[in-house]
Symmetry: C2
Subunit: 271 residues, 2 copies
DNA sequence: CAAATAGTGTCTCTAAGACAATATCAC
DNA sequence: GTGATATTGTCTTAGAGACACTATTTG
C-alpha cells in the first residue's frame, strides 16, 4: 500500500472531534474629555463585550468569537468573527492561549483559541451582529490586590462587572488565571480577558503594540499615554522620550489649537 | 425556553468540526565527551524526532504528537503523547503556536497545538512507541543566513535533515516561519520546530527554562553552557555569574574528580 | 499673564560587557 | 609543575529613573 491509497481509504470521521472556536479580547483606548479647554483628554483602556442574545449564558456579557470554519486559519476566523459581531476591523492579533478544559462550555466539547486584539481610535463604532443583543466598550482595570488575588473590573456607564481571579501555576510552571467569582461574564471569559491583558502588557513594555492604538501620526505624549493606560503605570516624559526615540521618526507637522504648546507629530519607525 | 432546555436540545453534531492534535518539540542537551580527561564535555541542543511507521509521510521524521481526546486539555494531551511515543516525561511545556492552515495535513482538516518541551539529562532514553519505527535525538542548529533565510539543520549520526525557511509576517505583524524546503521532515514540522526554538530562545534569555535541562544541583558553568547551547552564543563567565546570582542559591557541595578545580553546586532559587 | 502641555538637560545609580588576575584540583 | 576549569575583581560604558528647567500656545 502506498501513501496515496492509504489516504483514499483514510476516514477522519472515525475519531471523536471537538468543536474549535476563537474568542477575541478587542482593546482600544477611550478618550475622556474633562471639560477644561486646555487640558488633554485622559485615556482609558477598554475592551469590547457582547451581550449574549442566545443561550447559553443568555443576557450575560461575553467576548466576541465563534466557531472555526473549514478552510480558514484560527487567525482568519478571529478577524471574521470580530467583524461579524461588532463590525470592527482589528489592527493586530496576538495569541493569548488555548483554553481546553473539558467543562469550559456547557454545550459540550469546545476548545477556544484566544486572541488579544487592538483597534485604533477612529474605528470604534461597534454595531451588534445577529447573535448579540448589545455591544459595548467596557473600561478595564486589572490589578493584583493585597491578598494576592487579581481583580478584573469592567465598567460601562452604570454597568459594572467584577471578577476575582487566582493566579495558578500548573505542573510546568505555566501561569494562568482561575476565576473564583466571574460576575456576569459568560463561559471562562474572565480568565481569557485576564490572559489577554497580561499578554498585552508584556508587549506594551517593549513598545510592541502601542502604535496600533493610535493613527499614523501621533504625538509622543499620546504614545506615552497609551503605554501608561495599558500598563497602569506612570512614566516621566523625559525618560519615555529617550526610550522611544529609536522606534519613531519625526514629521514636520504639529498639533494645533489645544490651548497649550503644540506638539510635534511622529510616525512609527518601520525598521 | 430556559437555558437548561436549550442545552438539552442543542446538538453540537450539526456543525462540521476539525480534528485537533498536539505536536511537541522535546529538547534536551546532548553531552559530547572530547577524549581529554580534564576537559568538560561539550553540550549540544538536541530535539527528539520519530521516524513515522505509518502513512502519511511513512519513513519520514516527525515530532511526537497525536490527537486530542475527550476529557483532556491540550497540555495533558501533549504529555500523554510524548510518553506514549517516546517513554519520556517532560519537565516543562511551553506553548509554541497553533498551526491551522487548511492543507497542512493530507489526511484532512487537522489543526495542531504546538509545544516546546524540555527534559533533563537523566531521562533521555527514548523507546519507540507503537506508531513509530524509530526514535532518535537530533542535534539542532537554527540560524539566520546571509541571504536572510533561516537554516534548520538536524543531525543524528549519519542522518542529516536540512530545511530552509523564510521568516514571514502576517497582516498583523506576527512573525512565523514558512518552509521553502523541508528536507525529510513530515507535515509542517520544520515550521513548528523553528517556532519552538524561537520560543525556547526567548525564554532562555531571561533564564526561564534553562534549569529544566539540568538536575536539581548543578554548577554555574553547566548552567551557562545550557544557555549558550540554546541561544548559540558565548558569554563571559564573570558576567553570567553576576546576572544569574539572583536566580540561584549556593549549596555546600562541590564537584569532584574532574581533573581541575572543583565547582560549587547550586540550586534554583524558587522565589 | 496664567494654565497647561511640550520638550531638554543633568545627575545618580545600576547593570552589562570586556578583560585581567587569582584559586584549585588530577595527573 | 601543567593544563584545565572555577571564581573574583575592576574598568568602562549604556541605560533607567528622578528631577529641574525652559519653551510655546490660547483664552
Amino acid at each position: 500500500m502506498d501513501e496515496k491509497s492509504f489516504l483514499s481509504e483514510y476516514s477522519i470521521e472515525n475519531y471523536e472531534r471537538p468543536s474549535v472556536t476563537t474568542d477575541i479580547a478587542v482593546f482600544a483606548l477611550r478618550y475622556e474629555e474633562n471639560g477644561n479647554y486646555r487640558q488633554n483628554s485622559s485615556k482609558k483602556l477598554s475592551v469590547l463585550l457582547i451581550k449574549r442574545g442566545e443561550y447559553p449564558y443568555k443576557g450575560m456579557w461575553a467576548l466576541p468569537g465563534g466557531f472555526l470554519r473549514k478552510g480558514e486559519t484560527v487567525e482568519e476566523c478571529a478577524v471574521r468573527e470580530i467583524f461579524e459581531e461588532t463590525s470592527v476591523k482589528p489592527l493586530s492579533l496576538i495569541p493569548a492561549g488555548v483554553f481546553s478544559k473539558p467543562n469550559r462550555d456547557p454545550r459540550g466539547w469546545i476548545i477556544s483559541n484566544a486572541f488579544a486584539s487592538v483597534i485604533g481610535k477612529a474605528e470604534k463604532n461597534p454595531k451588534a451582529g445577529d447573535d448579540a443583543a448589545d455591544v459595548q466598550w467596557f473600561d478595564v482595570t486589572f490589578e493584583k490586590e493585597n491578598n494576592g488575588k487579581y481583580c478584573l473590573k469592567l465598567v460601562c456607564k452604570d454597568k459594572e462587572l467584577v471578577s476575582s481571579l487566582n493566579e495558578t501555576k500548573d505542573a510546568f510552571g505555566k501561569i494562568s488565571f482561575e476565576a473564583e467569582e466571574k460576575g456576569k461574564l459568560a463561559f471562562d471569559h474572565a480568565e481569557i480577558i485576564a490572559s489577554s491583558i497580561t499578554e498585552l502588557r508584556r508587549r506594551a513594555k517593549n513598545f510592541d503594540i502601542i502604535f496600533d492604538f493610535l493613527p499614523d501620526k501621533f504625538t509622543l505624549t499620546e504614545l506615552q499615554n497609551v503605554q501608561e493606560a495599558i500598563m497602569n503605570i506612570s512614566v516621566t516624559p523625559a525618560n519615555f522620550r529617550r526610550k522611544i526615540s529609536g522606534y519613531v521618526v519625526e514629521t514636520d507637522e504639529y498639533t494645533q489649537g489645544d490651548g497649550h504648546r503644540p506638539a510635534r507629530l511622529y510616525k512609527r519607525n518601520n525598521l
